[in-house]
């Protein structure tokens, strides 16, 4: 892949020799070749774009041990240096270790992070549009004494907007080489290549400049940064005219909210009208492929294992992909263009009422399609506690996987007539009620979390409004690839394992070489065992089995009930809708959908929560909490029906 446009107009500004006349020989001296390079910079400096450009598709994403901070690394093969590994550190303002992000950065830079090699060189990325402020990070980074190339990103924009910087003077001030680049356009990449080449060849004994402020108070850093940028002839660019003009409309008192609603509705319209059929189509194709393949196999336990144990799991993973990718495409466009921050600003007032901030709005909205991309999208919420709260309440939103059981029960039990004259259909209002119920549960949970968990942190809502930019297809594609891979690989394995276990429980024990029928399997025994607990809810053991099997995914219950009633001589001739009347009263039926409104019947979500929080603690708490709420909700519903109707 071609990634670099060579520019000969700007040369690497080499640091003059005299600035390195500080005590140096005793410090780190590196004689070998460099292998590991750390990429660091403040938030919004374009670091990720540069990382993508330097590593291309060869990225690895993992979590650092014990923290929720992600560890991105990749070889620079597409940059022509397959021998080098680039580590992308989290965006931070300083090395003050209040935040998990900064702690991780410090540990990696000092070589104290387990499993991550100490970096041999550093690429420090700064947005040169806001050099005064961005330079504040340079002091603590450069004083680490590692060979560092300072990259002034967005230099194309600086020039276009009438700003100026003397990179040679800046290199002189910092005692480190400085290069003007544009990560988005790909200019200046040869300068990075030169730097890496140069340090690969001779010993590295480049000390930090003695003039860097040792004091790391923000005020002293800032004073130093201003002095340095003044001495480097830095001239601020003109204020971004188009951003001002766009904001005058997009944040307008009347037009702002209207455009916001239109954008949100349009995104959802597309996700549902394109994503849902895509997911369904994918499901159909996979089902047919599975059926076709299993016909080709001999009828034995291996076939059953492959078809019901493994293939169903693969299917459960892949049917989510179209919706996830589509949602991420839109979230990516919103984020890269700069509109996401404006949306957060508009939504903040509403979100505050439930104790969250505006940044939680888009993730929670996405949860109406699927909780998985919603939880992945919470990464835009920097505040860890609010992010956790958003992750915890997102699965209460009525996702599309709840719709099969909702429509089945509503079609079977709710008469098709109108209430309130001829305005509202009874069926539609029950459906609406279920949506409201989920939202209410999220609201109450958020309130609860706010009073219990969040009280301790009074982290304020601070929102930086970036300038509007055109999203680049390259970065959108990379993001989709990244998220898609993450979901299928990390979540997929857990989902597959769970599907397999549920399948195993539904065919064991083995009698004379044959699997058990569902009604005499282990899972049926468990279903009968828990039946007394479910009785007050109005559920019998068949519904119990349905609930157990749907722990894999909510929609599975429809299939399971179909199988169960299909083999039962009393009901096998009837349709599933009529068969359900055999076992469920009206109270039990409504209790069942209420149960589904609250319960965490989704391994994909559990897997992604485990992945995003890097611990089993949160998914476990979430599962337990939601199951209890679901049980109580269903119990109350059924008892109300028993006593009042």
């Amino acid at each position: 892949m071609d990634c670099c446009t060579p520019t000969s107009s700007v040369a690497i500004a080499e640091a003059p020799v005299e600035s390195s006349g500080s005590p140096s020989n005793g410090s780190r001296s590196r004689t070998g070749r460099i292998r590991t390079i750390a990429l660091i910079g403040p938030p919004n400096c374009g670091k990720s774009t540069l990382f993508n450009r330097l590593t291309g598709m060869r990225q690895k994403v993992a979590n650092y041990p014990g923290v929720t901070v992600e560890h991105h690394s990749g070889t620079m093969k597409s940059f022509g240096r397959p021998d080098l590994t680039l580590i992308d550190l989290p965006g931070i303002y300083s090395l003050a270790t209040y935040s998990e992000d900064a702690r991780v950065a410090v540990d990696v830079l000092k070589g104290n992070m387990h499993g991550v090699p100490a970096p041999d060189a550093v690429l420090l990325v700064l947005d040169c549009m806001h050099l005064n402020r961005q330079l504040m990070l340079a002091a603590p980074i450069l004083s680490l004494g590692l060979p560092t190339l300072v990259l002034l990103n967005m230099s194309d924009l600086l020039e276009a907007r009438g700003g100026k910087i003397d990179s040679l003077a800046l290199a002189h001030e910092l005692g480190h080489p400085v290069a003007l680049i544009s990560a988005a356009k790909g200019t200046g990449m040869d300068l990075i290549r030169n730097f890496l080449q140069q340090f690969g060849e001779f010993p590295l004994t480049r000390p930090g400049s003695a003039r860097l402020p040792i004091l790391q108070s923000p005020a002293s850093c800032r004073k130093w940064a201003s002095q340095v940028s003044t001495r480097s002839q830095f001239e601020e660019p003109d204020s971004p005219l188009w951003t001002r003009r766009l904001d005058a409309v997009l944040l307008h008192r009347i037009w702002g909210p209207i455009i916001f609603v239109v954008v949100v509705v349009a995104v959802f319209q597309v996700v549902f009208s394109i994503g849902q059929p895509l997911s369904d189509g994918m499901g159909n194709v996979l089902t047919h492929a599975g059926a076709w393949a299993s016909n080709a196999l001999p009828d034995n336990w291996i076939r059953a294992l492959l078809r019901d144990g493994v293939w169903n799991g693969v299917q459960a993973v892949l049917v989510f992909l179209p919706q996830i990718l589509l949602l991420f495409l839109f979230i990516g466009i919103l984020e890269d263009s700069g509109y996401l921050a404006r949306a957060a600003l508009i939504a903040d007032r509403v979100m505050r009422a439930i104790g969250l901030n505006g940044k939680a709005f888009i993730p929670l909205l996405s949860a109406y399609a699927c909780a998985v991309p919603a939880i992945m999208a919470t990464r835009t919420i920097e505040n860890k506690r609010e992010r956790m709260a958003t992750i915890l309440i997102a699965p209460f939103m009525t996702c599309s996987a709840r719709l099969p059981i909702y429509t089945l029960i509503i079609a079977a039990f709710i008469p098709d007539r109108y209430i309130l004259g001829h305005i509202l259909g009874l069926r539609a209002s029950v459906m609406l009620g279920l949506y409201a119920l989920g939202f209410l549960a999220a609201l109450v949970t958020a309130r609860l979390l706010n009073s219990r968990v969040m009280k301790a942190s009074s982290a304020p809502f601070v929102l930086e409004l970036p300038q509007y930019r055109w999203p680049t297809p390259r970065s959108l594609v990379l993001r989709l690839y990244d998220r898609g891979k993450l979901f299928t690989k990390k979540a997929g394995t857990i989902i597959l394992a769970c599907t397999f276990v549920v399948w195993l429980l539904s065919v064991l024990p083995v009698h004379g070489g044959n699997f058990s029928a569902l009604s005499s399997s282990v899972i049926a025994h468990i279903g009968r065992f828990i039946a007394p607990v479910l009785h007050p809810l109005g559920f019998d053991w068949k519904i119990g089995i349905g609930l157990l099997s749907s722990i894999v995914a909510r929609e599975v219950i429809v299939g399971t009930l179909g199988t169960l009633y299909g083999v039962d001589p009393a009901t096998h001739a009837a349709s599933l809708q009529t068969a359900l009347h055999h076992d469920l009263t009206m109270g039990g039926a409504i209790a069942l959908v209420v149960f589904f409104a609250f319960a965490m019947q989704c391994t994909s979500t559990l897997a992604i929560v485990r992945r995003e929080t890097n611990s089993w603690k949160w998914p476990a708490i979430q599962f337990a909490y939601m199951t209890v709420v679901a049980y109580v909700g269903a119990l109350v519903t059924n008892q109300l029906f028993l006593h009042f109707f």
Binding site: P42, Y93, S94, A96, Y98, M129, H130, N132, R133, M136, P218, A219, R222, E236, S239, T243, D247, A248, L251, H252, R253, I254, G256, P257, L345, I346, D348, R349, V350, R352, S458, A459, P460, F461, V462, L463, E464, L465
Partner: protein, 80 residues
């Protein structure tokens, strides 16, 4: 006066940030330092948060945060 009391279009010089160290440190790295020039750009459609221009960057703060930041109002003629 408090930053939150400034009207849209007004600008001033930041005097002090009276918030817990963790918060003021974060704000300091966004440019909220004594002596910085701050301008009230616009309010969110719901009236809060408010967008401030400080140090060449646009940052939105809620009233509950801006209340704890004091500024000296620039001369009525307007410096910008």
């Amino acid at each position: 006066m408090a930053l939150s009391d400034m009207r849209v279009g007004q600008s001033g010089i930041l005097e002090a940030v009276e918030l817990p160290e963790k918060v003021s440190d974060h704000l300091a790295h966004l440019g909220f330092l004594p002596g910085a020039n701050v301008e009230v750009l616009r309010r969110a459609p719901a009236g809060d948060p408010t967008v401030y221009r400080i140090d060449g960057v646009e940052v939105a703060l809620r009233k509950e945060t801006a209340r704890h930041i004091t500024v000296e109002l620039a001369a009525a003629a307007g410096t910008r």
